[in-house]
């Protein structure tokens, strides 16, 4: 059996004495988009931070491409092939769009360079001389995604990409991620917007109180509104 691209086993992590992730098992296969769903405060962002090395696990393992990530620093993990599109975008607000992108373009090997990102996101090309803080929420999210693409990563972690965006911008971002998926994107998608998550994901994982309590293919989850209602309060 092929080893998953990202393979998490028995992960326990938190902040100081507060344990947020109790025992998390999760896998993302190459070319697969896995949606991680759950209510606010259940530990989704902590899991993303643990994968990126921003939070150190106290137990369990995180393997990526067959290599153990625990104990590695965020820069080592990033250079190893994982890119993060963080919650709240976190772009460099005082730098121009182009400067933001150039900072992210470290790996010259891979399919994405500045030109290909501008081709994919023409709005960024139009706004390339504007500072990050002058962009709309949707444009900032495009910039955050453009930055992740320029890392030419094997796995992208999206942390609430639709959060705080107007409906039109949500559609644009969802369309963008869907387009990337067509080209074989491997991603872990943390998303509160169930409609967006289900339109993009191959598989769905639900988290409550720091544990994975449900996993299924997106098609099975769609056909099971009771589960969505039980775990997420929607459906």
């Amino acid at each position: 059996m092929i080893e998953p691209l990202l393979d998490i086993h028995g992960l326990r992590a938190g902040y100081r004495r507060s344990v947020v992730l109790q025992r998390v098992d999760l896998a993302v296969q190459e070319g697969q988009v896995v949606a991680l769903l759950g209510r606010n405060g259940v530990g989704k962002t902590t899991l993303v931070h643990a994968i990126m090395g921003l939070v150190q696990p106290s137990a369990g393992s995180i393997r990526f491409g067959g290599q153990e990530l625990s104990g590695r620093t965020p820069d080592q993990i990033s250079r190893g092939g994982i890119a993060l599109v963080p919650q709240g975008r976190r772009i460099f607000s005082r730098l121009s769009v182009e400067e933001n992108l150039r900072l992210a373009h470290r790996s010259r090997d891979g399919r994405h360079d500045l030109d290909s990102v501008y081709e994919l996101l023409p709005r960024l090309y139009e706004r390339r001389r504007h500072r990050g803080r002058q962009l709309s929420g949707g444009e900032q999210q495009m910039l955050a995604i453009g930055r992740a693409l320029l890392a030419n990563a094997r796995l992208v972690l999206f942390d609430e990409p639709s959060e705080g965006l107007a409906p039109k911008a949500v559609d644009q971002i969802a369309g963008l991620i869907a387009g990337l998926r067509e080209h074989g994107l491997s991603a872990l998608l943390v998303e509160q917007n169930l409609h967006v998550a289900l339109s993009l994901a191959d598989a769905v994982t639900v988290m409550t109180k720091g544990e994975i309590v449900y996993r299924a293919t997106a098609d099975v989850f769609r056909a099971d509104p009771e589960t969505a209602r039980a775990f997420l309060g929607v459906g």
Partner: protein, 330 residues
């Protein structure tokens, strides 16, 4: 932009400033020329601090340590080995870079107020060493040094005299400032700005930020040491006051008054500080610091981007007015 652009000055303005600096010996008397030389050297020192404070977001209160190490190394080489001006510069740059690497290795692992206190502590340690290591530094009495020479045929006369040394210092200043400008315009400089803006984000983008900060710290220390060499070559004397907290504080004040992350602002701020010191000290004696303090408070409240920010704003207004006038029908 308070980020990557080296400063608001446009090429024509820059050329005009360089021209004025070149003809300055024709326009200024001996005292003013000496003061201008001091400003160029201290301006370069302050610009090296701006690389840390303005571009990398590392607020240092002990930058005089590297100026002092460069000065003492140049003085000691001149006394014990050779008075060659280039040997003095090389010794100043190398020694300050080594000390910056050793202290920076520890300092860049901290942040915020801890970084501030650690840099201050290193500088105070070196200040104490300079006072107490009498056999090497002659303590508070200081070290008189021979005049620097240009080569075997020169017995110290080539750089003697205000004008000759001024041109030497001007070339060194332009070289040092040019180097710093090239650094901040490079991908490395962009990474430093990214670290200032959001270090954890930069780490998530794959940057080993500690290495970048250490490299910036070493470079800033080396340029400070370069300025330290020039300082001792100008005055032919070095004493512990050159490593004192006041020197670090004045450089920081110069950076903030001039405008952070511009490099040129640090030089403007140095000119401002030196002119206040020299023009007001005769009228106010030691109270010139009080005046400087009041000016500093005023700048912090009224000109958050410093003098260079004000000049950029005035320049922008003039450009817009000229464009409007050109667009109006006759």
């Amino acid at each position: 932009m308070r980020a990557l652009a080296p400063g608001p000055a446009r090429p024509l303005v820059q050329l005009a400033v360089v021209f004025l600096l070149v003809v300055a010996p024709l326009l200024l008397g001996d005292f003013r020329l000496f003061l201008l030389t001091e400003i160029l050297i201290f301006g370069l020192f302050a610009a090296s601090l701006d690389l840390l404070v303005g571009y990398t977001g590392l607020l240092s209160l002990g930058h005089a340590a590297y100026l002092g190490v460069g000065s003492y190394a140049t003085a000691l080489i001149a006394i014990h080995l050779t008075d060659n001006v280039f040997a003095g510069l090389a010794a100043g740059v190398a020694s300050s870079c080594i000390v910056a690497a050793a202290t920076g290795w520890l300092a860049v692992r901290t942040r915020g107020v801890y970084f501030l206190m650690l840099t201050l502590a290193f500088a105070q340690l070196l200040f104490t060493l300079a006072i107490t290591w009498d056999s090497l530094t002659h303590g508070a009495n200081g070290l008189p040094t021979p005049k620097p020479t240009l080569g075997p045929g020169d017995s110290g006369g080539a750089l003697d005299g205000g004008t000759a040394f001024y041109y030497y210092a001007l070339v060194a200043f332009l070289f040092g400032l040019g180097l710093l400008r090239a650094v901040v315009a490079s991908p490395f400089g962009r990474a430093l700005v990214g670290i200032r803006e959001n270090e954890s984000r930069m780490r998530s983008l794959g940057y080993a930020t500690s290495r970048y900060k250490l490299a910036a710290f070493c470079l800033a220390g080396a340029v400070a040491g370069f300025a330290g060499s020039l300082t001792v070559q100008q005055s032919s004397f070095m004493s512990p006051s050159g490593v004192s907290f006041e020197v670090s504080a004045l450089a920081l004040i110069a950076v903030i008054i001039g405008g952070r992350a511009t490099l040129v602002g640090a030089v403007l701020g140095s000119a401002f500080v030196f002119v206040i010191r020299d023009e007001l000290s005769s009228a106010f004696n030691e109270h010139w610091r009080l005046v400087l303090g009041l000016v500093f408070i005023g700048v912090v409240y009224l000109l958050p981007r410093g003098i260079s920010g004000l000049s950029a704003r005035v320049g922008g207004l003039l450009t817009r007015r000229t464009e409007r006038a050109a667009g109006e029908p006759a």
